[in-house]
Symmetry: C2
Subunit: 345 residues, 2 copies
């Protein structure tokens, strides 16, 4: 018997909340590309973007301002307008009976909200009570690699440093990076407005709020969300999150200590067979994953898996993934796909 | 009594080998800025750059092509023209009796060649037999932080990820980054010639040759050189080296495990008092060292020292330093200064 919490078995009325952002636009593209069963598409945004026209499957769709009536008779809401907007509309959405897949951090650590990476913990999705959270972008990429490895040999500790693109701060941050880079090339002094400092030929520690332990919020998201997704509340993980002048793909340098030595060859075999992951390397040409390799693509790319010379039980590896795609929009659409009745037939 | 291996106590004849490169030009600027006792300056380069004019203390100096007679009656040679050039001229230089301070990796691991970071192991300099090596840029920055900390509580293991600027690959790589960034902004597809891949809005694992253990040469330099400088051949260190689209300052994300817990406050106090290191942070404004803060400056900047939440004996910290300056030219001039007789009076 199909669980009640599946989506209805008919063309769906789908609303995108925050359809004008970088992730919103990618959601639209992915619904079309993946032939998601959309019967009616509703694009919702703030007053400012209302009236804009976006294209979907050859038709033009007008962006509407979000109101309390926007969610009536909607089956699925893909929300990507930030935490405050998600918090503002959550109760209205829940009382409408629609399923909300939320890209913000608002409900990720709520014990009643599943936090899903479809390749990692798909069976948690069905436990939802109306809301499913999409994890943080860096967390999704990391979980895709950690999950298959820790099933083989348990992980003891992870040390990760990130190289995060401008897209993580939204479409306006991407535009700002291009604008300020041009200013630097023109010999001007760049002044940022969207990000706190200029990212043009520069980089800085992630600007999310500092916590009392001096980790920033982004780093603690990686720690707490990874623990929830992997179902291991005691997992030892430390992260340093850094914004770099790249447009839309994140990279991560990952050191993983296991409970015993993990043969490199086995790690390659396991990750090569893992859904959502590809090994991209050419040892002879010293060629490993780069942001430009994964931009606009679905899988995350992994390479340079090597025995850590400082610890017999540890491996080092390098990964890149498109932040807007697998780091956000693709993962959200994949969560919705988990709940299509046809996937239970 | 002054050791024989000091430089002569008079204005010196100084030659810069590779004077047309990014580091060569900075050497010239630093000799002037630091009032190094230059009696005569000789600028040496390849046939291609011979005849170029550079300015030193208000006079114009013509660049000469390097020949076997270039080193006669020279007291000090600051070499920064790459390993093959350093190897080519080493014997000629040594038979001339001059002191060679070499910025290349050619002799760094030679047991007869001291490898010096003046703030860390100055007393090793005097043991030279005609050649002193300047360490790799990332190693210099890291050693400045590790040395004072490990003297307080011994280090057990270090995990480091780097964010290395284009300048590490020379002046032409810096120009290429600017040129290719402009091409990307103009909607063109960038094609690199100096670096193996385009660094414009992209990044990649350091392109130095892969070793049999799948670490690249740059990473193994960090491991082996840090061991030599700290005088700890068993030091456990693992590194992932990454080139990022920044012009001339390197950054490093450093995780340091000690033999027991290291109070964060003490780490701040120790590094604050360490020569060559500054603490640059503004917790209230979430402001930590950035490449643009250290560009063209001497000290390396450290911030976000925090208790590692994954290991009670570990600290996390972040550092930035100018690659051309402290990472290369400044460190070389400081080594020469160690051997000025006035510093032994």
């Amino acid at each position: 018997m199909k669980p009640k919490s599946l989506l209805p078995n008919r063309p769906l009325t789908v609303a995108i909340l925050g359809s004008s952002g970088a992730v919103g636009k990618e959601l639209l593209a992915l619904l079309e590309e993946r032939s998601f069963p959309v019967g009616k598409l509703i694009l919702l945004a703030s007053h400012r973007s209302a009236g804009d026209i976006q294209s979907f499957c050859g038709t033009e769709v007008k962006v509407e301002e979000t109101t309390k009536d926007s969610f009536k008779n909607v089956d699925l809401i893909l929300a990507s307008a930030g935490s405050s907007i998600s918090r503002k509309w959550k109760d209205t959405i829940q009382s409408s009976g629609a399923l909300m897949i939320d890209n913000s951090s608002a409900f990720r650590m709520d014990e009643n909200v599943p936090l899903i990476v479809p390749e990692v913990n798909p069976s948690d999705a069905i436990k939802h009570k109306g809301v499913i959270s999409n994890p943080n972008c860096t967390t999704i990429l990391l979980a895709l690699v950690l999950s298959p490895l820790t099933r083989h040999i348990p992980i003891k500790r992870i040390v990760v440093s990130t190289y995060q693109s401008a897209s993580g701060a939204g479409a306006m941050a991407m535009e700002e990076l291009e604008k300020l880079s041009q200013e630097v090339l023109d010999g001007k002094t760049p002044k940022s407005k969207v990000l706190p400092y200029s990212l043009a030929f520069n980089l800085f520690l992630h600007n999310s709020p500092l916590q009392s332990n001096n980790y920033c919020e982004e780093e603690m998201k990686m720690v707490n969300e990874t623990r929830k997704i992997l179902g291991d509340p005691e997992l030892s993980l430390t992260a340093t999150c850094v914004r770099v002048p790249v447009l839309r793909a994140h990279s991560e340098s990952v050191n993983i200590e296991f409970t015993k030595p993990f043969p490199v060859k086995e790690a390659y075999e396991i990750l090569e067979a893992s859904p959502g992951v590809e090994i991209l390397e050419d040892l002879e040409n010293n060629r490993f994953p780069m942001p430009q390799d994964v931009t606009g693509r679905d899988p995350i790319s992994v390479g340079r898996i090597r025995q850590d010379i400082s610890n017999p039980n540890a491996l080092e590896l390098w990964l890149c993934g498109d932040q807007i795609r697998k780091g956000a929009a693709l993962n959200a659409v994949q969560i919705a796909e988990l709940l299509l009745p046809k996937n239970y037939e």
